[in-house]
Each structure stands twice: as C-alpha cells, then as structure tokens.
C-alpha cells in the first residue's frame, strides 16, 4: 500500500513513503522527515502553528494534502528559513525582543511574518497585527511578537 512521494523541502529533494496520498504535509514534515519547526495545533487551519512556506507563500501545512504538492514546489520550514549560524532577520528579531514564552506558536508567527515582510517591506504596526490576526498565541506574547516583526522590518 505504501507509495513514494517526492518533495522539495528546505532546498533538498526528499523522497518519503506514505500510505495516503492525501496525508497533510504537516505529518510528512514532522513524522517522515523529523522536522520540529512546523507544529500541530488544531488540524483545522485555525491557529497557524503548522505554518510553512510553499513557493514563498505562508500556508497551513495541517490542511495541505500531499497530493496538492509537486516535487518542484519549494517547501520551506522554520529550519530552512534560517539556522542558528545564519538567522533569518525575523528569527534574529524574535531573539532580540525575547518574543517567546512557550514558543509553540512561534513557528507560525515567524513564518507568517517572514512571508509578510517579503512582500510588504515596511508594514505599519496595524498591518502586522492584521497579518497575524489568524495566528493564535495562548501565552500572551502578542506585544513582543509585534515588536519583533517591526524590528525585523527596520533591520
């Protein structure tokens, strides 16, 4: 029953074995490829914890069936956005603002903000809040997250 699926994840070709062509991307990234960046939060595209980039766009990997992706589409996760040695400006800003409590939602916050800043270089604070309006944080780190995104925008 197992079938092969080719993906491009963080700049590398990956071949995985799956049982269901419609398995959401999230499980391929976490369970088949062992990545920790994208996180399971709701499975309903309501919270944003699972956000990754597909061809530069922020998408909710928990509701993205593998069957909708080709091997050419570029999937980037938090690990591929930047590394501890080469941080993405948004990651660096989150460290500088200490914009993390538990950090479970932070993957989504960073991936969504990075996608925003890629198309809107100098957003207003209101634009940042609007862009993150469908990303949920339960710890209440919102104020620092906004500051971090604004800092990244001016970096």
């Amino acid at each position: 029953m197992a079938q092969r699926k080719s993906l491009n994840v963080n700049g590398k070709a990956a071949r995985i074995a799956i049982d269901d062509a419609d398995m959401p991307l999230l499980y391929a990234l976490r369970d088949n490829l062992g990545l920790h960046g994208p996180r399971f939060g709701c499975g309903l595209a309501q919270c944003g914890a699972c956000t990754v980039h597909v061809d530069g766009k922020a998408v909710r990997s928990c509701v993205t069936p593998l069957s909708s992706l080709t091997a050419q589409q570029k999937v980037v996760t938090l690990e591929g956005l930047g590394t501890p040695q080469r941080l993405h400006p948004v990651q660096r800003a989150f460290i500088e603002e200490q914009a993390v409590q538990c950090g479970y939602c932070i993957n989504g916050m960073i991936m969504e903000s990075a996608a925003l800043l890629a198309k809107t270089k100098k957003p207003s604070e209101a634009q940042v809040k609007e862009a993150l309006a469908n990303n949920l944080c339960r710890c209440g780190t919102h104020a620092r997250i906004v500051k971090a995104v604004m800092r990244a925008a001016t970096a």
């Binding site: 062992g34 941080l87 309006a133 710890c139 919102h142």
Partner: protein
C-alpha cells in the same frame, strides 16, 4: 519487529532526532552511575559539579514556557559564581530530580528557586572551606571568578575541588545557609536572555510533541460523544482499509487505536465506528447559575470573620448594597494539544510528558496500573504553554494504557477537540456580596459568599480520564486548586465575614487554571469595592487607600504607583463629562495582595466602549508590581504580558459552550481567544526590592485584570458588568437595564 516504511525515514532522521535519542542515553547513563539522592534535605539532590567544573542542576520545578529554565540557573550561577552557560538543567524527572511540588502558583522561584539558592550557598561554603585548606589561605581572602577560587596567585577550580564527588551535605530550608549579599549580584536582577529561545525560533527545540523513542507507535483515543456515555459496541471492520493499524483497544469505556504512523492513527480514530449509550448529565447551560446556586453545599468555610457583620448589616440607618457576580467556565486552551509517550518494559513504566507535576503523576499512574510507585518513572519534556492542570497528565495515562496493551512504546497526541472537550475546566464561580454603609459613605460591614466546588481534603489529584473511562483505579477526588484564596479582603472594615460555600459537585471535572480562584474572587471583591466607592461618590483609588492597612506600606505604595503610572484622574466614577458620544472612554483600578501574604499588584485599565454595539476595547493597561527581589526583569515583563493578555482574553471573550451531553466548543471558532488586533498597550512599573525575598511573579498579575476592566467600563458608561465574559450582548443588556 516489522518496521513500517515511514519508520525507516524516521530512523534515517535528522540531527534533531539524534538529540532525542541521545537524551534517552544520557539519562540512562546517569542512572547507571547509581541511585541519585532526591531528598530535599541533600545538596546532592539539587546539584553536581563534574571534574571539568560543569554544573548539573536538578529541579522538580519545570519550565512551562515561563522562563524558569533560565531564571533558576541564573540564581545558582550567581550564588556559585559560575558562568550561566556552564549549568545544565535537568527538570522534572522522578528518577533524578527532587520533588519540589507541582509547578504552579508562581512558586518556582519563591519556593523552588530558594531551595536551589540554599543548596548552592551550602555547596559554595563547603567549596570555599576546602579551597582554603588546599590554598593554605583564609576563607575571607578567597575570590571566586567563573568557578575558580584564588588566593593571591594560587588557584583551584571547583572541578578540582569536588569533581564528580558527592557533597554529602545536609540542607535545612527553614534555616537556609547565608547567601550572597544582593549588593554583590552580577546576574540576579539582570535581564539575562532566555536560554531556550534560539532553539525555539530555529526549529531545533525538542518539545514532548517532537520526542520519539525506538519502536514507537502512534495512538489516538476515541472519546465518547457524551461525558458519561457507556461504550456499547465497536465495529473493527470499519477501519479495515486504514493502513498500518496495529490494534483497537477497548477497556471499559476507554476506546483507542494504535497504528504504525500518526496519520494512520488519526484516520483510524476518525473512521472507527462505535455505538455509545445516550447520556445527559450536564446542566442546561442557560440555567447554569441557578444550578450552581442550588447545588448541595458540602461545607461552609469561613475565610475571614472580623467583628460582627450580621449585627452591623442589621443596624438601623445603615444602607445596604448587594451584588452578585459570576465568572464563566474556562478551558486551558494550550495551542499544542496534550501529548505523551509511554513505554512498558521489564515491569517498568516510563512516561514522557509535559506534566507540571511529574512526581504526582507518577503516583497517579502507579495507582491506575496497580504498580509499586518505584516501577514508574515520569520524565518532563516541555510542551505547549501550560497554565495549570490541563490535559498533559491525561495524555500520559492514555499513552500508558495503550502502550501496555500493545507491548510497545506509544505516543498519544490529543486532537484539538480532545483538548477543548476533555481537559479539566476552571469551574463556574458565583459570588454574592453585601455591604453596609453609613450616612457618610463609610463601609461598616462587608459580607460575601463564594459558590465554588469543594476540594477533597489534601488532594490535588485530578482523576485521570483514561482511568475513569477504563474503570481502573482513578479516585473521585475533586481538586480545583486552592480556590478559596483571596476570598478574604485586604481592606480593614470593622465587620467582615467571607464564606466559601464549598459545593459537593460541579458540572465538569475541575482543575486549576492560571490564578485559580484568586482571579474570580479578586474580580468580585475589586468590582464590589468600586461599587461602594461609587455609592460614596469617592475616587476609587482614594477609597481603597482609606481602608488599606496603614502598616502595609508596600501595598499602599503599589496602589499609588499604579495611579501615578496611569496619570490617574482623581474623581469619582462614572465619568460625568463627554457622555453620550458613540465611543465612551473610562478608566478603572484594581488592587490585590496575592493570597493576602505575598506579591502586590495594582492595575489601571483604560477602555473604549462602543455604545451602539457594546464592544469593549482595552486601549491601555498599566500595572505596578512588587514581588520583592526580581531575578530577571525581562523574564518578569514577559510573564506580565502573558498574564495580562491571557486574562484580557478570558475576561472579554471566553466561555465554555456545552449541551446536555458534552462540551460543544471544540475548536477555536467556537471557543475564540484574543487576537492581535485586540492587543492593548502595556505599561509596567516594576518595583525591585533586592533585599527582600523573591515572591511569585506572573499569575498574581492576572488577578487584577477582570475587575480593572469592569471598573473602567463602569467609569465609561455608568453600567456595572458583573458577568465574565463581558461580551457585547451583555454590555448592551446592561445598558438597557435588562442584565
């Protein structure tokens, strides 16, 4: 053993997974070196220094996303004079860490940190004594820099002094060893960056959800459609097309599936056909408060009794004010649903979870499986933010039950609906208040009754869902947390009686959620005192100051500083000017001395209320905060943000929905929480008292949020909100006088 294709991918793995495996190895190696002391009275229980001078710190208090994995080592690094990055922290492992109690109540620093400080100070005194001998110098002439002791040009390192040997020193936490003079602090009191953040923002951090063990399977639990439904029939053929199903586990009313892959387990749980009995055990949600009021009272607890309030209330000429407040049922709502891994091997159960109380969970699991407690090991791995007893322990029980049934390690990941539907809830709280005032508006008597569930004596065992469903030993304790706290008041009225009517039952399995009881009780008390101030036509800050204990200088200072911070406009509420416009603005104050024994907090909220819709927007929130010695001011600010924002969400938006069968608010659409556009500006005044003991910081700040908002709305529109959450329809009803 057959390895599924996706398992092979997993084992080929990435660096991050290797971390997971090596973590297991490290712990096992540590254990192999012999039994480690765990008693609270031994230095060796808390810390070890190896030959290279690396310090290992063992703490039963765990980092729930609050930053104590930085703050606790910060305390110890200061005391020992070692760099922070030479301290490795082991948290919440029943085989390795002392039982310092549940991580709750903002006590990690106040209690746990002070035990660590005592251990470090005791260890350091012994190290210096030994160094003095080795260096042939006087103890007072020794200097310590980065774990190296020197006297003139002679030096010896901690590693050379103790290197892997045990300290074998006793501790008495009631009489702690002399610790460093705060004037010499280099680390404590500084905004040291958190150690976990770089890994968390780059996807290198291992949460419990990321943890994997060799041979591990994935489990899911199929929850009953009604809380008390019984399982009648299961049709296993309904999942014959799902690949990789290993087993369907049926144990009483517990139904679960185990599969090779996580997605396989999810699909199997979704597709598995089962029939359940009809069961209506929940109250009519529309009549919740009648139900609470009519609940059987198990006992009345008088939490304060001064003078004779009944006599004062009945006195001729006294005007009596009465009000009833209620506070909705809340869910914890962690962004990552609960998750746990369990393994049964050679009669031993190992459980990895994000439990805030691994030592207690260990006892609960031992009871559930009828095992000696020594054969259970619970290991903490950080999960999604935890604000009290949520579903972590229940997921641990689920995983253990499934692992036992299949004889292999099983990981259980709760779904969003599992978390919203089945985590224990913050119970509904109903509060009646009465006061008598004299002709000048002075308060002569205060009486209150809090309708809150009882607490099984001495128990903080929230029954494990899996044990209850499976009919295994679970106990039927009711453990909502110490929710009587802050029912008594800080104001010195001549006659006061506060009573907790402890109810025999409550609709949902209760537990503690951030600031349990203290939030609800402070909300009612601080709103009602505002009502009294308004009745006396007095300024709400001045009115409070009039009744605070004049000897409680720190409390008075906090309240005055909050007012100064907010540039408080001294006048009675409601506001007389500018009424009638579409957007009304107002400000409200609230004050709390946490549990009447520790952290002082005062808040001022500024709000805008839209008259046509009833929408409340909190625009600014000011907080003055005195927790004594501040360990990490940036960590403190981060926690204050969290407590204020989360409580804003609870106050304005949150309310559990249910029908007669079960919880119906099973996702973020039906149980919404605060979003970015609703974020207020936050302004703090942190009062640092380096020479005082550190008190809890974090959840005390949440206590003042609901009342500050209610009082600000009253100031804006002259209408008192007495029912949390303050939804637009409640505001509209209150404005129309129909609330």
């Amino acid at each position: 053993m057959t390895i599924h294709a996706s398992r092979r991918d997993l084992l080929k793995g990435t660096g991050a997974l290797v971390v997971s495996f090596s973590l297991v190895g490290t712990l096992d190696q540590t254990l192999a070196q012999g039994a480690k002391p765990l008693a609270l009275t031994e230095v060796d229980s808390f810390l070890a220094i190896d030959a290279k001078g690396e310090v290992t710190l063992y703490t039963g208090k765990v980092d729930l996303g609050t930053g104590v994995a930085t703050a606790l080592p910060q305390i110890v690094a200061e005391e020992l004079d070692v760099p922070l990055n030479r301290i490795k922290l082991i948290q919440g492992d029943t085989a390795l860490t002392p039982d310092q109690g549940t991580t709750w109540g903002s006590l990690s620093i106040q209690l746990g940190g002070m035990q660590l400080r005592n251990a470090a100070a005791t260890a350091k005194a012994a190290l210096l004594e030994e160094a003095a001998k080795r260096l042939d110098a006087k103890k007072e002439d020794l200097k310590v820099v980065d774990g190296v002791v020197s006297a003139g040009n002679k030096r010896v390192s901690y590693g050379e002094l103790i290197g892997g040997k045990s300290f074998a020193l006793k501790l008495d936490h009631a009489k702690p060893a002399a610790s460093k003079d705060p004037k010499d602090y280099k680390l404590v009191g500084k905004p040291v960056p958190r150690v976990d953040i770089p890994d968390k923002v780059t996807g290198r951090f291992t949460y419990v959800h990321d943890f994997r063990v060799p041979g591990m399977l994935h489990g899911r639990v199929v929850r009953p459609p009604a809380i008390a439904a019984t399982l009648e029939n299961v049709d296993e053929t309904s999942i014959k097309d799902v690949a990789g199903v290993v087993k369907v586990i049926r144990h009483g009313n517990f139904l679960g599936v185990v599969a090779e892959s996580e997605w396989g387990a999810i699909k199997a749980a979704e597709k598995l056909k089962a029939s359940w009995s009809k069961s209506q055990t929940l109250p009519d949600a529309a009549k919740l408060w009648d139900e609470v009021r009519a609940s059987k009272v198990a006992k009345d607890e008088v939490t304060s009794n001064v003078g004779n309030s009944a006599e004062a209330m009945g006195q001729a000429g006294a005007q009596t004010l009465k009000a009833t407040y209620d506070f909705a049922i809340h869910t914890h709502g962690s962004i990552g649903p609960s998750c746990a891994i369990a393994e049964f091997k050679d009669g031993q159960l190992t459980s990895w979870s994000a439990s805030q109380a691994t030592h207690n969970l260990r006892k609960q699991l031992a009871t559930m499986f009828g095992m000696p407690v020594e054969n259970v090991r619970c290991i903490y791995l950080e999960g999604s933010g935890c604000y009290g007893r949520n579903g972590h322990e229940d997921a641990a029980a689920d995983a253990a039950l499934l692992a036992k049934a299949v004889g292999r390690p099983v990981r259980v990941q709760w779904s969003r609906a599992d978390e919203h539907g089945w985590d224990p809830k913050g119970p509904p709280t109903l509060i009646d208040l009465r006061a008598a005032v004299d002709g000048a508006g002075g308060v002569t008597a205060w009486e209150s009754e809090f309708f809150i569930p009882q607490q099984t004596a001495g128990s903080f065992n929230v029954p494990l869902v899996a044990a209850t469903l499976a009919g295994m030993p679970a106990g039927d304790d009711i453990a909502p947390g110490n929710i009587f706290q802050n029912s008594a008041i800080p104001y010195k009225f001549a006659n006061v009686k506060t009573v907790c009517r402890r109810l025999a039952s409550t609709p949902f399995r209760p537990s503690w959620i951030r600031t349990p009881g203290r939030m609800q009780n402070t909300y009612a008390n601080e709103c009602f005192i505002d009502e009294l101030a308004a009745a006396a036509n007095a300024d709400p800050v001045q009115f409070r100051l009039k009744y605070l204990d004049p000897n409680d200088k720190r409390g008075i200072e906090v309240l005055n500083r909050a007012a100064a911070l907010a540039k408080w406009d001294t006048r009675p509420s409601p506001k007389r000017d500018g009424r009638g416009g579409e957007v009304a603005t107002g400000r409200g104050v609230a004050y709390c001395k946490y549990e009447l024994t520790r952290t002082y907090i005062a808040a001022v909220a500024e709000v805008e209320v839209k008259r046509s819709t009833g929408d409340i927007r909190v625009t600014k929130f000011y907080l003055a905060h005195d927790c004594g010695q501040i360990i990490n001011p940036d960590g403190l600010r981060n926690q204050l943000d969290g407590n204020v924002i989360q409580t804003l969400s609870r106050t304005l938006i949150e309310e559990l929905k249910y029908d007669r069968f079960a919880v119906t608010s099973l996702d973020w659409a039906s149980y919404p929480i605060l979003r970015f556009p609703q974020l207020p500006e936050l302004v703090y005044d942190l009062i640092d008292r380096p020479n005082e003991r550190p008190w809890g910081a974090g959840e005390p700040a949440a206590a003042v949020v609901p009342s500050a908002i209610s009082n600000a709305v009253f100031d804006a529109i002259g209408v008192r909100l007495r029912s949390v959450p303050f939804t637009p329809d409640k505001v509209m009803a209150a404005m129309k006088g129909t609330a």
